[in-house]
Symmetry: none
DNA sequence: AATGAATGAGCGTTCATTCAT
DNA sequence: GATGAATGAACGCTCATTCAT
């Protein structure tokens, strides 16, 4: 039996959810999730074993199956719970800003900050979003959409404010921005020596806004 | 005997590689490589089995081990051979152009063209370059460097020509460009319906050069 | 504490059994037993889980271990309690009849009636008595003996009355009868459509008594 | 991959079948089958492990899966191959006899002989045919039908010859006979000391034909 | 007495790799 | 070189049983 299999009666799940939110059981669910993400980050999903995760979470192998339907479900939970939280914070940051450019700057900075703070999440996120048969496809699509929506809003606001060009193809702009940020993160993840990721935020925004070309503002 | 069990100097192995590239054995080597990439693209590396690859290549399971040291080696060969070829063509395209901006346009267009033409390669490339413990790390680094060098050259030329801003942080510009292109490809790979990837080239270059901000050139 | 972990004299345990049979606890003991038989009948012993039984009996998994030593013990209890009851009723039926043939007819009819009425019991009985390593061997042997004794008595009475042949090998006659009845039940259990099992009683008795051969009575 | 999974291309299966019938591979298929039946007979299906079977057959665990789809498939193969053979021999015995009674005698004797000769088969047969969710249902039904057909033929012939009563319900007669034989075998299997099973044949036939009742022929 | 979360031994199955032919 | 049968280590997952509450 398992907290997350949708086939169980709602009452049971709600009760368990309730418990999880208050008591120490809660503890275990998150311990396993964090442990799994750590192990996935280090070894990759397929090379990680349930035993390793259990050991890292300091629970028995079988305990994992009380909280997750199977190995894949851990990943799905990660995307529907952990990263959702993070993306929520992106939105908060954006909403706290006034102009479109400031909003963009906030988004990029938060993105880099959050991923720098939680390297394991960053690794798993990078890896899972670049697979073809993605194990958490619906969750990833939802997140992707959330991010895209934020960018869309920023761009549209900027266009109304007159700070962003009007003739842009919105879909491409979104990929342009998220792609560059992702690559900056990816490079950081694979770098031989550590460096401050957030320091890339302002130069990146500058590139997004002005491009690499010479213009009269220089 | 397995052609990979030897520890002979690289030169000797290169000679064998040369032979392999010409003779009929060659045939099988490439059939396996292509088959593997196809299967990897469809199922992912870990979910692909040697049996599936052998079946797709129409050889016996054991035959694969005459040409490749192990499953992982197929991926390594893919990166050191297949994608190297592709990246070589990027350089040729770039060299055929005059101005920095035209060179950049050529690079982006070729990149999208090649990946559109060989979807399997695109999938495997995307997936493998975004793992932490990358199975073909040295090869990927080499390729990445090759690409980065091309971009560096373009940017430097542009700066001399006066078409690209001088105060840019080159390392970031490279990630900015490759990241956006990668994301455009990744989105295309996961799109529900097919569309022409190369049509993104010009709008992308425009974004790279001018950014999203309003300037006086409009 | 588990009521089965003690090694107290049988008398003490019997007293507890007596209590159990009267008090409300009793309720749970039988609920579990009936639930288990139902689940065993549907899935087979090994494919049944304690969880399924607990759910069916509407108790917690752990509660089962307050009434039964382990999974196997449920089966043992089933044979020593449930089927013992049934076989007792066979005897009563037999005793209420006069002639050997009437006694036989009563036995067969009751047997078919009881098994028809409690299909789950029938299934488990059939299945468990035909295993090699029988989980309730002593209980099954006891029951088998009980049944055999009834048949023996009937046959012996019939031989004295002159209605049953004298030269018969009693051991074989018993198997002959119980085997045929069992098979009639087994066929009924596996039949695609339901039919009345008790209607087989009289024709069966006729076969037992007269055989299939032609004789002068026809 | 597996010789018995029907999903593989027919050509492959036929080729393998051909090999199996001629070469030493053949050897392994039967070694595993016999080993499995032995282990199943000793421990029961669910308590038998693939490892035990492999050890008994002197092959590696994985080898079993080259010949059988899974554990259950071994049982299915047993019923569709092994017991089919046996039942075929029943028919041959029957066909070699003239009168209905002689045919019946042959059937019973062969049945007891074959099961006495291959105790493991007898055990597994008894056990599997008395489960509700029978793992080899179609195969068991087919065999059962085969047996039933033989009995039907005998009875019908006897009725024409005038040696078997005409007013009998054929379906019941078949169960009456097979049930008694099964029970005789089952008792033998569970007996504490071994005895000759075939010696039961003639007395059994006598019971079938004349029943237990007194008649004028005595 | 009753609960059900936690445990961890155990098993079926897969599959990369080897090697006799 | 080419084959594919054979191997056996490895892993995901289940479930009977325990025990703190």
């Amino acid at each position: 039996m398992n907290i997350h299999s949708d086939c169980r009666p709602t009452i049971v799940r709600e009760k368990e959810l309730f418990i999880r939110l208050k008591a120490k059981t809660n503890d275990k669910y998150h311990r396993i999730l964090e442990a799994a993400i750590k192990v996935f980050a280090e070894q990759g999903f397929f090379q990680s074993t349930i035993s390793q995760i259990a050991k890292e979470a300091q629970v028995a192998d079988g305990t994992i199956y009380l909280y997750f339907k199977n190995k894949e479900d851990i990943l799905v939970q990660f995307f529907s719970y952990k990263t959702k939280q993070v993306f929520e914070r992106f939105r908060q940051g954006v909403d706290s800003q006034g102009s479109a450019i400031e909003k963009l700057r906030s988004l990029i900075r938060r993105h880099l900050e959050e991923f720098q703070q939680d390297r394991n999440m960053a690794v798993v996120y990078q890896s899972e979003t670049h697979q073809t048969s993605r194990r958490a496809e619906p969750q990833i699509r939802a997140m992707s959409k959330m991010y895209m929506d934020i960018v869309s809003q920023i761009v549209e606001q900027g266009q109304q404010e007159g700070s962003i060009r009007k003739e842009l193809y919105l879909g491409l702009v979104r990929r342009f921005i998220i792609g560059a940020v992702d690559e900056v993160i990816n490079t950081w993840l694979h770098a031989e020596k550590d460096y401050d990721l957030t320091s890339m935020a302002d130069p990146l925004v500058d590139l997004f806004v002005r491009g690499i070309g010479v213009d009269d503002r220089d």
